[in-house]
Every structure is written in structure tokens, then in C-alpha cells.
Amino acid sequence: MQKFNTLKSIPAYLPIVNIDTDMIIPKQFLKTIKRTGLGKNLFFEMRYDDQGKEIGDFILNQNPFNNSKILIAGKNFGCGSSREHAPWALLDFGITCVISSSFADIFYSNCFKNGILPIVLEEEKIKELSEYANRKEEISVDLNENKIVYGNNEIKFDVDKFKKKCLLEGLDDIALSLKKSEKIENFEKDLKNKKPWIFND
């Protein structure tokens, strides 16, 4: 997994609440058997008209936001379907940090598996940061220090320590869990005694 350390970018602001994963990447693009190549279809229905032309009003179609690495959005971002295609599409577009006042659980967890940092901030702070998007000014995110720096200000944010470590070091979850193989084996032995019906064999 790609590491996440620090990031500097002009953020794009999408002031819509309850952005669901269908909106982030509609179903017709879930037929892929790859993780890559979804960026061009990110926010497809808001981004392109019926003829497939870019809609100029949409924020990610405008310069410099078409190069934003940070997305600021309304509350409950990523609700709905569990599709990991949503973070894959964001990543493929170049967005590696999403800031919102709340995230849906599955999307939130999927981000960390893909080197994307989701940051939860109070609504008030979101409004403040969105001003930087409006003025096309850069902000920077520092995961080491748990802070966002904008102008002469900074905001601290919370992130689970273990998730932070995995992001900073780009760790492979599966390899980490397989280090606990002995514990898994012991659990399984115990399970076979206590609940023999589970194993179906």
C-alpha cells in the first residue's frame, strides 16, 4: 500500500451532505476486475452530461481543482454500498485525503486500506477550510503531527493510532495478521471443540 505522510494541495470543496458511494462511482463501473482506472469515472453523473461531456460547473472539472489531492465534503460522506471502488476511484483521480464532519463506517475503513486519509473535523472548521478552497489556496496535512496547516493557523485531528501507523508505513494488513497465525490456530482448535458445527466437516 502507498504510504501517507504529508500532503500539500489546494482542496476542492463539495458542499453536499450524504454523498453516497453510488454517487462517487456508479454501478456501471463496478464490472471491472481491476483496482485501477476508475479515476476518470469518479463522480460520473455529476461530472459528465448525457453526451459524456464534462460539466463545467462541477468543481472537479475546474482548474485547479482537477488536480486537487484533498477533498472537503458534507457530512456522512461515503454512505451506502460497501464498494471499495469508491476509494479506488478517488485514489486513481489523485485524491488521497478526504475531510468531512462525519464518514460512513465501511467507507472510512476502506480508505485506510488504500493509503487514503479520511479526516473528521467539526462543521465550523470545515467551513473555515472551505474558504481556502474558494480562494484557491493550498493547505497542508501532516499525519505525523496529526495536524492541518492553513495560512497561519493549524487544526489538530484525531486518528486511530494503529491505523495511523499502517498508513505512515504503508503496512500490509494481511501480513500483519498472519504474524498472529499461532493465535488463529489456537482459536480454531478451541472452536472445533466448543462449536464443532461451525466447521461443516
Binding site: L30, S81, R83, K195
Partner: protein, 467 residues
């Protein structure tokens, strides 16, 4: 200390607990479908890893399959590749698969319970948010992403943090024509789509206990629309009776041993919940959604909201956006909303009892001339049962199309979709923008309400057609 049912299942599956609270949880049952698994199998291959317990894994293709004649296979090239990739992966890794022409094939959340793969007290996962459905059996069941699918395939465990406990109590008796779909829509309307974020919901109360197994599944299924990853109900005699003698249920001595364990699966008296709400069943009426979020609910007797009455600016903008997308005017009566299509099916309402409920309303009636309506059974076995009961004839005689099983127009990944601006009364679970097809407009309703809408040609009160 008294524990909740969720606390108990959690503790019983802990393989490891780090000091920071990060847990490694054992997964008893893993369901796999074609859309969220190819990249996971690819990951296994790239790292030279195996599936740790093929026996605890069950696969079925449901999202992409056609619901019309299947004898010629899948015509859409990408869909075909995805379904074939699942077949190849299952063969390579030794996983049991119900293929497209197997009568046990169906929506993964219909198939699991039907086969007895879903069992009380287990941890069940699937790369699909509606995995919450299986919580109806008193299991901890939740949707995961594809990276997590790969993790479960490789390790039979999942890295998790404990969620909060949220109890929803529903007591009393439902009025005539009101179903468990209306109950869950009402709950989502009350708590909002982020109301359950970070929580596992336990549904309790005498109304919940009075529900059938399938009605419970409808409630647990839409838990994710209230923001909670999992929703569960303590198992009881109805659940045990349902599971007895299913193909993958425990047999003989194993059954007796399982029963001993299952019978004790309940929340202890005095257990602490972080959140709790109460609903009275008598106050719940037939519901519809008017907007583009499952929390946008009103009763069939109400009017769509007026953004001008909203003080909160965000809420006002959101209402305006929804009304605009849905092509509705503020203060319009629900019953004045004319529909073009009706879809009965999905993992929410595609089971035999759902079809019976709709057929009861449609018997000896015709659907409105301008309405195109279809029934997509949740599985081949549901279809077979319905045909034995003659339900297919009732649907066809009334003007409905009788289709093959799959996810179909719930998410429109196959050929079944709405055209732009088409309006649908749907028994599915999501009314998001574009969910049933680009520009399509979805109103979520119960199977009876969908049948009533088909007859009237507009959203209507199912009680009007009740004998």
C-alpha cells in the same frame, strides 16, 4: 457485568486484542459474490496465499446476472467476464459456488439463510453492505470492503474495533397493511442515515419478537441505511425451526450442541446500551420515501416537504436538491405521485412472504395501463416455491413480468434499469440519485404498497386494496 448480545458474540470471536483496542475477530461464515471479490482473489494470487477455510466460504453470482432467459448466457461482455472470473476463482481456490443455472442461485443474502449457512451467534461477513440481513438470526453480520474480503479469505479473521451498542425497541401491534418494511423505514426516518454510525443495533420489543424470520430479515437488511454496519435480533424458536434440516444447518449431535449454545444468545438483563430509542407499532403507517436518501420518509397520507420551512441552510439545500432530482413540487400529496415502473424484489423484499404479500393485493386485479412492472424472486428456490403456490400466475395475470432471480433493478448493474426521469415504486433499499439507472427516480415501499402503486398507477395506500 451484564452483556449485550453484541458484546457476547464479539468476545466469543476474539482471536487477539491489542492494547489500543484493535481486535482480530474470527469469521465463521464468509459470503462472496462476483462484484467485490475479483480484486481480492487477484491479491491472493499475487502474494501466493491460499483461502484458509474454503469450507466456511460460499459464493454466488447475483449482481450481474440477467433476469430474462439465461439459456444463451450473459450478453453484456463485462458482466460475463465478472461472473466467469468468480467461477474460475472458486474453482482455483476450492470454494463452493452456486452457478447461474443452479436453482439454489439467488441474491447472496437470500441464499445464505435459505441454505442454513447463516447461523445464530456467528460472525458473518460479505463484500456487500446488506450483509446486515443475516443479523435476523442473532449473528453479527456486516459488510466489508474488497481488501477486507482478501483479508478474510487469507486469514479467516478481520481487524476490527468494537462498536457501540444501540437498542431500538418496537412494541405493540402493527395496524393492518403495515409491514416490517414500514417499520424499518420509520426507524431510519427517525434516526437519520448517519444515526447508527459507529454502532451495532439490536432490535428488541414484543413487535420484533412477533415478526416472522423473513420479516426480521427485512428490518436487519436496511440497518445499513441507518448508518449502522450491523443490526441483530436475539434468536428464538422461530429461528431454530427455520434452520432445522436446511442443507447446511448442523445435523444430529451437532444440532443438539448448537441448540444449547443458541438458546443462550440474548442480551442480559440490565446490560448497558450507549443509545436507545422506542417506537410504538400502532403509530406506524404505510411509508414511502419521497427523496434521494432513505431517511426522506413520509406516510402515504402525507405531503412531500417544503424547503422553505427549513431553517437549517444545509438541510434546505439538500431538500431542494432532492426535490429537483425527483421532479416533485413542495407540498405535493404522496398519492398524487404518478409512477412509470414497479420493481418487486431485492435482498430487502425478494423472499416468498414478500411475494405472497404483493400477490394478495394483485389477485384478480390489473395493473394500470401505463405501468411497467416486474417481479424478481430473491432466489431460484423462492421462484420455485412461488410457482408451486401459483403466485407467478397472479403476477402475470395482473400484468407483471415474472423474472429469473438476482439483484436486478435494485442497483441496475444488469439490463434492468430505469431510463432518465422514469419513476419507480420499488421494494428495494436505496433511493440514491441514479441508483436504479441514471436520472431514475426511486420511491422505496413495501411489497404490498408496490402492488397498490402498480394497480393505481400512482403511489397509493395498500389499505385501500386490503380485504
Amino acid at each position: 457485568m451484564p452483556n449485550t448480545l453484541y458484546d457476547k458474540i464479539w468476545k466469543d470471536h476474539l482471536v487477539d486484542l491489542q492494547d489500543d483496542g484493535t481486535a482480530l475477530l474470527f469469521v465463521d461464515r464468509h459470503l462472496v459474490h462476483e462484484v467485490t471479490s475479483p480484486q481480492a482473489f487477484e491479491g491472493l494470487r499475487n502474494s501466493n496465499r491460499k483461502v484458509r477455510h474454503p469450507n466456511l466460504t460460499l459464493a454466488v453470482a447475483d449482481h450481474n446476472v440477467p433476469t430474462t432467459d439465461r439459456s444463451k448466457g450473459i450478453s453484456d461482455k463485462e458482466s460475463k467476464i465478472q461472473v466467469e472470473t468468480l467461477e474460475a476463482n472458486c474453482k482455483e481456490f476450492g470454494i463452493k459456488l452456486f452457478g447461474m443455472n443452479d436453482k439454489r442461485q439467488g441474491i447472496v443474502h437470500v441464499t445464505g439463510p435459505e441454505q442454513g449457512f447463516t447461523q445464530p451467534g456467528t460472525v458473518i461477513v460479505c463484500g456487500d453492505s446488506h450483509t446486515a440481513t443475516h443479523g435476523a438470526f442473532g449473528s453479527l453480520a456486516f459488510g466489508i470492503g474488497t481488501s477486507e474480503v482478501e483479508h478474510v479469505l487469507a486469514t479467516q479473521t478481520l481487524v476490527q474495533k468494537k462498536a457501540k451498542n444501540f437498542r431500538v425497541n418496537v412494541n405493540g401491534k402493527l395496524p393492518l397493511g403495515v409491514t416490517s418494511k414500514d417499520v424499518i423505514l420509520q426507524i431510519i426516518g427517525k434516526i437519520g442515515t448517519a444515526g447508527g454510525t459507529g454502532c451495532v443495533i439490536e432490535y428488541a420489543g414484543d413487535l420484533i419478537r412477533s415478526l416472522s424470520v423473513e420479516q426480521r430479515m427485512t428490518i436487519c437488511n436496511m440497518t445499513i441505511e441507518g448508518g449502522a454496519r450491523a443490526g441483530l435480533i436475539a434468536p428464538d424458536e422461530k429461528i431454530f425451526k427455520y434452520l432445522k434440516d436446511r442443507p447446511m444447518s448442523p445435523k444430529g449431535k451437532d444440532w443438539d450442541k448448537a441448540m444449547e449454545y443458541w438458546k443462550n444468545l440474548k442480551t442480559d438483563e440490565g446490560a448497558k446500551f450507549d443509545k436507545e430509542i422506542n417506537l410504538q407499532a400502532e403509530e406506524i403507517l404505510p411509508m414511502i420515501t419521497w427523496g434521494t436518501s432513505p431517511q426522506d420518509v413520509i406516510t402515504i397520507d402525507e405531503k412531500v416537504p417544503n424547503p422553505q420551512n427549513e431553517k437549517d441552510e444545509d438541510r434546505k439545500n439538500s431538500l431542494e436538491r432532492s426535490l429537483n432530482y425527483m421532479g416533485l413540487k413542495p407540498n405535493m400529496a404522496a398519492k398524487d405521485i404518478k409512477i412509470d415502473k414497479v420493481f418487486i424484489g431485492s435482498c430487502t423484499n425478494g423472499r416468498i412472504e414478500d411475494l405472497r404479500e404483493a400477490a394478495k393485493i394483485l389477485k384478480d386485479k390489473k395493473i394500470a395501463a401505463h405501468v411497467h412492472a416486474m417481479v424478481v424472486p430473491g432466489s431460484g428456490l423462492v421462484k420455485e416455491q412461488a410457482e408451486q403456490e401459483g403466485l407467478d400466475k397472479i403476477f402475470v395475470n395482473s400484468g407483471f413480468e415474472w423474472r429469473e432471480p438476482g439483484c436486478s433493478m435494485c442497483l441496475a448493474m444488469n439490463a434492468d434499469k430505469l431510463k432518465p426521469q422514469e419513476r419507480c415504486a420499488s421494494t428495494s433499499n436505496r433511493n440514491f440519485e441514479g441508483r436504479q439507472g441514471r436520472g431514475g427516480r426511486t420511491h422505496l415501499v413495501s411489497p404490498g404498497m408496490a402492488a397498490a402503486a402498480a394497480i393505481s398507477g400512482n403511489l397509493d395506500d395498500v389499505r385501500k386494496y386490503q380485504n
